[in-house]
């Protein structure tokens, strides 16, 4: 028996907005602790991790561990239909994930579970020289600013500032932000803007983004719900300059 009720449908909507643009099939794992998901995109460039502990939910029951395999595009189609004031309930039956929206009316959708061989990937454990927080909206805006001039974005951090920059054929852009944190080292990596944009779709998950950055290392972006009971994190492989 699995049942999870959330009064805020936006959490699922915003998470899967990002997740569905990264992976097309996914396995959610439910147990008595809560719901989690680990996924790696087909090209092994982005890793995404979602964890919603049982206290995130207004009601949560899961007697036995359960694997829920779904097509993320189908799931997103349904979640898009949620109104922000709707309660959302997740349950399963033989072969379906059942999503019910409770609002003015009671709306129920069934999404067929898919048959996939899935081994939940585990991300590489990396030690980063820097770690800092910036407002998520600032990060998202910076990405859009950069989009005007280039398809790649350089993210860097030094003692004082976090910088996002790009050089394009027709112009350059640079965004600087005083982070006010204790950072001893400089770090810089370059990423594909298209890939970073996918992660930016989760803009309703958290107001702050925790970032870990190194030199030519993956970007670690960590979003935490205010309640501390939910997290959404991403790991994005960098682009590296050719040696020649």
């Amino acid at each position: 028996m699995f049942k999870a009720v959330l009064s805020d449908s936006n959490i699922l909507k915003t998470s899967f907005d990002a997740i569905s643009s990264i992976v097309d099939e996914v396995q959610m794992q439910a147990d008595e602790e809560g719901l989690r998901l680990d996924a790696l995109d087909r090209s092994h460039i982005t890793f995404v991790h979602l964890e919603l502990k049982k206290n995130v939910f207004d009601e949560y029951q899961c007697k036995e561990p359960l694997k829920i395999n779904v097509d993320t595009e189908e799931l997103m189609k349904v979640l898009k239909r949620a109104k922000s004031e709707d309660m959302v309930e997740l349950t399963t039956d033989e072969g379906n994930l059942i999503i019910t929206f409770e609002g003015e009316a009671r709306r129920r959708f069934k999404i067929r579970l898919i048959d996939i061989e899935y081994e939940a990937p585990s991300p590489p454990q990396l030690d980063y020289p820097t770690e800092f927080e910036i407002p998520f909206s600032l990060l998202k805006d910076s990405i859009q600013d950069i989009g005007i001039v280039s398809d790649k974005i350089a993210l860097q951090v030094d003692e004082d500032k976090f910088k996002a920059s790009a050089e394009g054929d027709f112009g350059d852009a640079k965004i600087e932000y005083l982070h006010g944190e204790k950072i001893q080292e400089n770090a810089k990596s370059v990423f594909s803007l298209e890939k970073v944009k996918e992660m930016m779709k989760a803009d309703k998950f958290s107001e702050t983004a925790q970032i870990k950055l190194g030199n030519d290392m993956p970007l670690n972006l960590y979003l935490k719900m205010a309640s501390d009971e939910g997290e959404l994190s991403f790991l994005l492989a960098p682009r590296i300059e050719s040696e020649e």
Partner: protein
């Protein structure tokens, strides 16, 4: 720099080739062929194309068989300028119109059809375009009679299925190996799609609509396949063109680059466009050939069940005449079915292509977005950080 549109306009206005001379009345065949203009949309000039030539004239409107049968540029132009375009102003939703019904009839056939036409005046002019193959003189058509027509079974099936989305119809027909030109013709005269949503689609739009519908579908499939393990070069040359298709051992990404060399005069001019893994939203700045080429390459990748990044370099030389995007489609299809060469890295692949190009490959690199990207930096995967 001159845009591609204005360059091609200049190029196509250069051709003053005489076309077939016919009077107000024409007795002959339609290959079958139809033409729907885009001017004045949604009230457009639609009509059949008819040739005074008797017998089997299918080849005149079957671009798939031109390169395969080693037709020369002159052969193709001769075929096309033998086609007289009849036209009438019709609303795109007006499928009950008597002329439109006949256009649907002929578009569902795969054989040429005896036809008789009466024009308002003597057909005049000639039309060259980068998009559709050229055709001969045109005139307002007043009367159009055809012999009885036997329909192609696959086309007939989608015609009667008024619950089938136009997109699904195109994909089904492509799956059944119906030639692209037939699918596109039938699509343009409103014989596909949900009953009440059917309409005429201008020829140039219908070509890109069919190309991109098929390409999008194939790309979804191809993204599931394993990535090719080496750099590859596929190539083909015909009709004063050279095409090199470079396959990259990366996830899907695609760049189209075309150089026009001394076609007008002394010019050496490159146009290009590209997309990353997730594709592009806006219409390509180089026009329909972008989608045509993408479709033809994806056809081949899907058949091979492999994924790759793709860079296409095309050169058009002096003597080149714009014959429509079929030129790109069939040249690329031919390139993809030829034996290919394999390389260990990007440099040796480009060095090889450089020996085949008239323009230096550096000029292409200079103009490129994706290729430059690949040379300057590479996308790593998370696997390399474990």
């Amino acid at each position: 720099m001159m845009g591609k549109k204005s360059y091609l306009k200049k190029l196509t206005s250069k051709f003053q080739i005489p076309s077939v001379d016919v009077g107000k009345e024409l007795d002959g065949t339609t290959p079958p062929s139809v033409f729907i203009g885009s001017w004045n949309y949604p009230k457009v000039y639609a009509g059949p194309m008819i040739t005074p030539v008797e017998g089997d004239t299918t080849i005149m409107d079957t671009p798939e068989s031109w390169i395969a049968n080693q037709k020369t540029q002159e052969d193709i132009i001769r075929y096309r300028l033998n086609l007289v375009r009849g036209k009438q102003l019709v609303g795109v939703k007006d499928l009950e119109n008597g002329l439109v019904e006949k256009l649907q009839e002929i578009s569902l056939s795969s054989n040429s059809i005896d036809s008789e036409a009466e024009f308002h005046g003597k057909p005049r002019g000639v039309s060259f375009s980068d998009h559709h193959p050229p055709h001969g003189p045109s005139a307002v058509i007043e009367k159009f009679d055809i012999e009885s027509v036997r329909w192609d079974r696959d086309l007939e099936k989608v015609y009667y299925d008024t619950d089938l989305l136009a997109k699904e119809a195109v994909l089904n027909l492509h799956q059944e190996d119906v030639p692209f030109s037939q699918i596109q013709k039938a699509f343009s005269v409103g014989t596909m799609g949900i009953g009440k949503r059917r309409r005429l689609v201008p020829t140039r739009w219908s070509i890109t609509a069919c190309d991109s519908t098929i390409a999008d579908h194939l790309l979804k499939e191809v993204k599931y396949y394993e990535i090719v393990d080496k750099w590859r070069v596929h190539e083909f040359a015909s009709l004063n063109n050279y095409y090199a298709v470079i396959l990259l051992p990366t996830p899907w990404q695609y760049e189209w680059m075309e150089a026009f060399l001394h076609v007008l005069g002394r010019e050496e001019i490159i146009f290009s466009d590209y997309e990353y893994y997730n594709g592009k939203k806006e219409y390509s700045r180089v026009g329909g050939c972008y989608y045509t080429c993408k479709m033809a390459i994806l056809e081949s990748l899907a058949r091979e069940r492999r994924q790759a990044g793709v860079i296409v370099l095309r050169e058009a030389y002096s003597g080149y005449v714009p014959l429509g995007v079929f030129n790109v489609r069939e040249n690329i299809r031919n390139a993809m079915t030829q034996p290919f060469l394999e390389f260990e890295d990007v440099k040796s692949a480009l060095d090889y292509v450089d020996t085949k190009l008239k323009l230096s490959v550096d000029k292409f690199i200079e103009q490129s977005d994706l290729l430059q990207d690949i040379l300057r930096s590479r996308q790593t995967t998370l696997d390399s950080f474990f």
